[in-house]
Symmetry: D2
Subunit: 307 residues, 4 copies
């Protein structure tokens, strides 16, 4: 049963787990977050919505942006073009791995949920210049989140830019194989901006709810994403959404999900439920440790696992 009381209990029971994680430190600005924060927001099948804990706290979307940018890349270029450049195979490597790009004959990013594939997806977004490209990304994220006031957090954006050398290495590596047309600086600027968009649990829960309903906002009847895009996103999230913890997350939680080092996890279903959690204390693989624990519990208690 998912209701206000259940969510309050969930947050209360899992808050202590935040102590076992660490706030992301590789982007200095992220370190300022309160490690014991924990929040959850749920849209249910029947259109109700509930939030508990720090569900109103803003955090940067980080890698959760990858699903929207990937969706937009497919919308802009078609599946065929996108899958020519970016694979859909899960990989056992960490999110910022570069080794396999060299070691495998294809030199093709494994999937759009790891940084290499996500940077490539960003480079494929249509637009006359980087401002236009970013605005199109922001518009889609706003539409999915049902929140037209989403903006980037400027100080996180600058912090990402200052410390984004590993991502630049990935971008230049991909570009050296001729896969990126634009200037790396432009692509990375858009990439750092998309990661710096600030959201709350409700925002990402709303997007999860849209995806769960195959792209349609059940309240307004408006279509935000095509059914096919939602099917692709759910599949890719299920197999690759939590980096090199995707497999164990599929087993433990069983919902298509995407995490970000900002502490958010977006989880969706086939049944019209959308969930957003936030907890900036991360486990070693970069996923919200208490957020994942709450998702495991709510999935188990309500039979939300796909299998």
């Amino acid at each position: 049963m998912i209701n206000q009381q259940a969510l309050e209990k969930l947050v209360a029971e899992n808050r202590a787990i935040t102590a076992t994680g660490t706030v992301a430190s590789y982007i200095p600005k992220l370190k300022e977050k309160n490690p014991s924060d924990l929040g959850i927001y749920v849209f249910t099948e029947d259109g109700a919505e509930y939030g508990a804990g720090d569900y109103n706290t803003k955090f940067t979307i980080q890698s959760i942006s990858k699903i929207f940018v990937f969706a937009l890349a497919v919308m802009d270029n078609g599946e065929r073009e996108v899958f020519k450049l970016i694979g859909v195979e899960p990989t056992g490597d960490s999110f910022n791995s570069i080794a396999n790009l060299e070691l495998k004959d294809t030199h093709k990013p494994y999937n759009p949920m790891i940084n290499a594939g996500a940077i490539l997806a960003t480079s494929m977004i249509h637009g006359n210049n980087k401002k236009e490209k970013f605005n199109r990304i922001l518009d889609l994220i706003r539409a999915c989140c049902g929140n037209s006031s989403l903006e980037i957090n400027e100080s996180v954006y600058h912090s990402e830019k200052d410390t984004g050398d590993r991502n630049r290495a990935l971008a230049y590596f991909i570009k050296s194989y001729g896969l990126i047309e634009d200037e790396v600086d432009n692509v990375m600027d858009t990439y750092f901006k998309q990661c710096s968009i600030e959201v709350t649990c409700r925002d990402i829960a709303h997007a999860a709810w849209i995806i769960s309903n195959n792209g349609v906002n059940k309240r307004t009847g408006q279509r935000v994403l095509s059914q096919r895009i939602c099917s692709i996103l759910k599949t890719v999230m299920f197999t690759c959404g939590l980096y090199d913890a995707s497999g164990s997350f599929a087993l433990d939680v069983g919902m298509p999900s995407k995490s970000g080092v900002g502490g958010g996890i977006l989880s969706t279903t086939n049944t019209g439920i959308g969930i957003g959690v936030y907890g900036p204390a991360l486990d070693q693989k970069g996923n919200s440790v208490a957020g994942a624990a709450m998702l495991k519990a709510i999935s188990r208690d309500n039979g939300l696992a796909i299998f």
Copy 2:
């Protein structure tokens, strides 16, 4: 609509695709198979069953055995013990890869669907000796396939044994980290035997039907596998069942599946449908090329994809 006529049409329409694949050659005995063979067998939600094409041709189960041996390893040792030794993370590497066992700090096979993890699972099967261990595996496969007369193909078994050096390398490598207690020769003997069990499309479709029904034989009411085991198997098949083509298969077909280099693919669902296909002509990643094409078509035409 799944019926006799639809399946006949499916085989007819996809038979030509067999010409684009190659029969597995690394085990000499497998080379003798007819590359243009193609068959399918389906158990439907309402208890009907249909077969078309070469659905009656026997082939060796090969890697499809991995799901049953993994199930038995979990039944014998518990999830906790098994997951201590074997991961559940998909990997972008090929089925017989050894590199990551060395390069990653854990030295732990990524998942039970690649050879390293499957060999380790075999080593965990309970029994007083290798004969007893193999018989317990055979019994479970017979029960799942609903066919008590399944036996190994002796000449394939000997062929596997003669050419199994890469698998022996994997076994010794894992043993060097103390993960295998038994003698490698014993474990490999059981492993080669389990791969050599002969089945038909109906046999594996039956097993897929059992798994789809959460472990219960809907006709007899008998429970063959626990619900939890079925949930684990479907999850692991979905994320890792087709080696380094698992991701694109999840997108194209969308059913939890397991392939073998003998040419079989077992595909299951959440809705009581079980499918077995056979076509020994394989694509470059070791999966039945026309079998996969049939699964893609039947999934698309009947909405069988999980997402």
Copy 3:
């Protein structure tokens, strides 16, 4: 016996081998070189010098610059500081490999003869700005080559800059581990410039002669490099000077050598002999194919191998 006649014969006998190689294509400007060019220049123990073939043709120094920049990095920072950041271990990987920087725990370039290590060495050169840093490199190369008129080839320099994304990837990767202080753009500008310095066979033969004489110009008595630097350079060239062909070159030729994709190879000895060869047709590992053949012959005929 090394004399004019012997060198003429050497060039004549090995010219045909140029047809088995290919001019470097990854830097467009390099492609314009004549693939059948072949030249050699030798300074002998007794102070004589001979040139044959296209010994007067200018070519860009490319990776041969790595030994001078490494020498200068050691002179500027001391062995201890340099070896903290850059290893001296040969590696079986290709010159522009990035994989092991990630896979190995140290994240430390293996040696200063591969691109990653060379870029790091460039970043360690002292100077108030990039112009001053490059001029210090140019001065050392001029001094070693005994040619104060050496300059960069502007069009090659711009071509390198236009196509240097793989090297930028290496630089950003290294910087992401905090090993590079300066801006990557500055470091790469200096790196591309140092690679674009134009030399002839005589220039690099002169430098080889200086190194062979432990850093002293035997004619003028002037010390150009310290004895210790020469000892380090010879050791590192012998073990790592020809990328992933260093071992077979050590066996076939047996002289400490450094090759560049411009087609040059600098070869030195312990006995006061310095050799420079030029042939832009390269083998698959990026070394002058006919140049290496000449070095093998001259080494064998004159007992120049160190072992």
Copy 4:
């Protein structure tokens, strides 16, 4: 100056360094050695010989056997045949690495000084059966060491056999590419035996002296190895003799050397000097820590470095 007094001083000054290392533990029998043991033995250019410290203590030859087995493989099969199967490129990987055998297209062991290449060399030794093959290896080692009473240490041999799974994995991996004809069990039995031959510092110093004199015993005038074999051995030892510490050893010591996890290091020169050291306390890369320190000191004090 190398004399009795100098060697005594060397041992005295470096004995304390033994405390910074650890006796090899992966072969249980090796653990029983006294970690503070340290000895050295030198044959000088003028035919004198001196020993100091624990130069009379027996230890197993371990990987030092690789140079003799490689020499015999070349003598039995010719350079061309051997280099078809085994490379001569140094590698930055550890001695028992398997990853690159898979990741590189050639699937060829990098060089005969790492385990994969050494096992392959052992498999190429001529003989009608494994006993004959091993006896031919033992005979060559006896001849080089000038000691016809060398035998294997039975308990180390059995200990190696009991714990040799990683080496068996390497052997089966190589065999899976068709590179080994014989049964793996036979090859490994010979390999474990050759590693278990017991020697003293004098024995390996004698072999180093033979190699330094290009294969001739200067006292008897007898030729033990061909000049070409000695040239090959010195080159390969210099570039690959100390595993992934070969490069820094070349810089620090500068003598062609081969180490073994039994604690021995054989060091040779071009000038008729042969050195054997023993100290079972190893550094992290598997080389005698105090033995290497003594070699560094004796090289520096007597100008023994090749460059």
